[in-house]
């Protein structure tokens, strides 16, 4: 075990002596957490809208006012013709065109039904869907008001079902609360995986690995010495990130933090095992970096970080079971935001345990002191 001590000493000296690397290790993740957490939102608000009002009636004006008052839309233009409106839509200046045809009010009052044309920039389909839902809701409210005004006293009011929403765990629907823990996982994972993936192969490239391989050092202590520094650094970064999440982003931390760190330790073992495995396999740092990037991008996209796993097709949902990052993001969200205990994340924990064992075993087996 004493060899491990000397290896650790060497790795730490090398890490902390690298002046160019230190800010990247410690400042960059913090800045990214601060900036990217605000960027990562699907929230729709202030959608730029143009209105062609060919009716110019009380009701049509009321309709536009209601749209603006809802807070979802900003009126940026009132073009004269649909062609002009469409040109602005193509240029991306507006995302929604509301076209009120002539005789709108009269149709509504006389026949009880009148069309309004909504043209949406559907390039971003998800956003377009939300914009449409918001606009339709406003239209429904306006028509209900109109009906209420015109209803004869004799008519019985339509039966109404009142929907009372309650948003649990995140009553203000604060997006950062949701994204910060996930983004933190990605940042910590990137640091851990890239550093470990480039480490052994770096010694290969500069030639020192040969020198180590002719020493009697055993594989176990060697890999522990390579792994432990990054494990500790990643855990420290997780701690710093959680502090920022708690006191800057005001993310509620309902669950047990010891549990979070315990499972983070387990998760990092799996990811470091992956990094070391890549590193022992690769011939150059460039190659190692590329393999690591490739794997991480797929892990991130399939982790449920940006889009819910439940939205994926069934086969892809099953594939996410093989993704340690997906499990750990789930753990972070459940434990931190919902106050879940170990019991609620036992499946994920078991999976991480399995990945850790498999990946570390692969790394140890892949690393050979003797070339066959």
């Amino acid at each position: 075990m004493r060899t491990v001590f000397y290896l650790l000493q060497k790795e730490f000296v090398q890490i902390f002596r690298n002046r160019a690397m230190l800010p990247i290790l410690f400042a960059m993740p913090v800045i990214q957490l601060l900036v990217l957490s605000y960027a990562a939102t699907f929230e729709v608000r202030d959608t730029p809208m143009s209105v062609i009002d060919q009716d110019r009636s009380l009701t049509s004006r009321q309709l536009v006012d209601r749209l603006v008052a809802s807070g979802y839309f900003t009126l940026v233009d009132q073009p004269a013709t649909p062609e002009q409106a469409d040109a602005a839509l193509r240029r991306g200046e507006v995302k929604l065109i509301v076209h009120v045809p002539p005789r709108f009010e009269r149709d509504l009052l006389e026949t009880g039904a009148a069309p309004v044309r909504l043209v949406l920039d559907a390039l971003d389909g998800a956003t377009a869907g939300v914009v449409q839902a918001y606009a339709t809701q406003v239209l429904a409210r306006v028509s209900r008001d109109v009906q209420a005004r015109t209803a004869t006293a004799a008519a019985r009011p339509a039966p109404r079902i009142e929907v009372r929403p309650a948003f649990w765990y995140n009553p203000d629907l604060n997006y950062e609360t949701y994204m910060v823990p996930g983004i933190l996982v990605v940042l910590v994972t990137m640091i851990a995986t890239f550093l470990s993936a480039m480490n052994v192969v770096r010694e290969k490239e500069i030639g020192t690995i040969e020198q180590l391989n002719v020493t009697p050092i055993r594989k176990g202590p060697f890999l522990i010495g390579k792994l432990l520094p990054f494990w500790l650094i990643a855990l420290v970064e997780l701690g710093v990130g959680l502090a920022i999440a708690r006191w800057y982003f005001h993310v509620p931390m309902l669950g047990n933090l010891a549990l979070v760190f315990g499972l983070a330790g387990l998760y990092l073992l799996a990811m470091l095992g992956l990094g070391l495995w890549i590193s022992t396999m690769a011939d150059t740092q460039q190659q190692a970096m590329f393999i690591a990037w490739f794997v991480l991008v797929i892990f991130i996209l399939m982790s449920g970080l940006f889009t819910p796993i439940e939205s994926m097709p069934a086969w892809a949902q099953r594939l996410t079971l093989l993704n340690p990052m997906a499990h750990f993001i789930t753990i972070m969200r459940r434990v931190l935001l919902k106050g879940a205990g170990l019991d609620a994340v036992r499946v994920q924990t078991a999976a991480l345990l399995l990945f850790g064992t498999v990946l570390l075993t692969l790394a140890v087996r892949q690393y050979r002191k003797v070339t066959a």
Partner: protein, 367 residues
């Protein structure tokens, strides 16, 4: 010139010999295309719904059936206790709960008003909002059907037209982003790493004392990556078109020219990084954190720029990929020409010019 061509040939051989990296360079965009085409979806479905229904009358059951029949609900479970709902939410077994008030149908018929509480797991606010919107829509349509018997007219009828992407497919949005990402990766990241590698191993000095001038050396090093990235762009476009049916409505020539502009920009950034770092590790981390993450997150690739807070929207103007994405989406999906895209093109060209000047100056100072 002869020496230069020989040099380029050598660089090509280096790249082609590294099968693993090559495999990843081509495999990655394809894998991502498949993920974005088939896997990554923004819409919400497969939600398990918990229901508390004390009265179990005809109306609550009719509503339950409507919800079950809708696209987003996957299954229904009955759960009357809040504790049970809490436990199910925590374990991720359900995302929504519907609590009908006691005597629901009776109240609706007698008082004309009945209440239902919708509890959503709002850890993901986006999903919570969407779920609530879907549920409300279903309840409203049920309400209207009830009203139909009392003959109330439909009111304002929205006539919706989804421009450019009527089926709301997410590949349309993601293919241009993917191209930007891959170009950044190959042109900026790979070149910065190969050049720092030569510095680290010491072969850069050998090259610099050779009769080749520094600028041809760098050009020679980046030419293969330009060719490679161009081929990858063509592969992505081909796949997007044939497999995923993503259109190219505008001019293909303009599209490729803009790609070339962005490639230049990425190369300039890659060279800039490599002249200012001395180890591959540092170059990699800077390129990843400084170029790739912003390209993914601040360009509008995944998250709409209009949703970001104002300071970040301002910051996004400094991200070349932001302009490139607007251009690509304009040309491919909206069929725009240079007349509509000249501001974006100018912004991108201006940035490219600045980065090129900076990298050439830094190159002369540092190497």
């Amino acid at each position: 010139m002869h020496a230069f061509l020989g040099f380029v040939r050598k660089e090509f051989r280096h790249i082609l010999r590294d099968r693993r990296t090559l495999l990843i360079l081509f495999g990655m965009p394809v894998a991502q295309l498949v993920l974005f085409g088939f896997v990554i979806r923004n819409e919400v479905n497969d939600v398990t719904l918990l229901i508390a229904d004390p009265s179990q009358d005809a109306m609550t059951q009719a509503l339950t059936h409507r919800l079950l029949a809708s696209r987003y609900v996957d299954g229904v479970a009955y759960q009357t206790h809040l504790d049970g709902i809490e436990a199910a939410f925590r374990q991720g077994l359900a995302r929504e709960a519907l609590l009908f008030e006691p005597g629901f149908a009776e109240r609706l018929q007698r008082e004309g008003l009945a209440r239902v509480q919708v509890i959503a797991d709002a850890t993901d606010p986006n999903v919570a909002n969407t779920i609530l919107a879907y549920t409300t829509a279903i309840i409203q349509s049920y309400e209207q059907d009830l009203a139909a018997t009392t003959a109330v007219s439909p009111g304002i009828v929205p006539n919706v037209r989804m421009r450019f992407n009527p089926e709301l497919r997410s590949v349309y949005l993601f293919v241009p982003g993917l191209i930007a990402l891959v170009l950044m990766l190959v042109c900026a990241l790979m070149t910065s790493i190969t050049i720092t590698r030569e510095k680290e191993v010491g072969t850069m000095e050998v090259l610099l004392v050779s009769p080749l001038r520094p600028v041809p050396i760098i050009v020679g090093k980046v030419v293969p990556y330009v060719v490679l990235s161009f081929i990858i762009v063509l592969v992505i476009l081909g796949l997007a078109r044939t497999v995923f049916g993503v259109p190219i409505r505008g001019s293909v020539g303009l599209l490729l020219a803009e790609c070339l502009l962005f490639i230049l920009c990425a190369l300039a950034l890659g060279i800039l990084i490599s002249t200012r770092t001395s180890s591959q590790q540092v170059a990699t981390m800077i390129a990843l954190a400084g170029l790739l993450m912003p390209t993914v997150l601040l360009s509008g690739f995944i998250f709409p720029i209009s949703s970001m807070p104002a300071p970040l929207q301002a910051l996004s103007h400094l991200i070349p990929a932001r302009w490139f994405l607007a251009i690509l989406r304009g040309i491919m999906i909206k069929g725009l020409g240079l007349a509509d895209l000249w501001t974006e093109t100018l912004a991108l060209a201006g940035m490219t010019g600045l980065f090129l000047i900076a990298s050439i100056r830094s190159f002369h100072d540092r190497l």
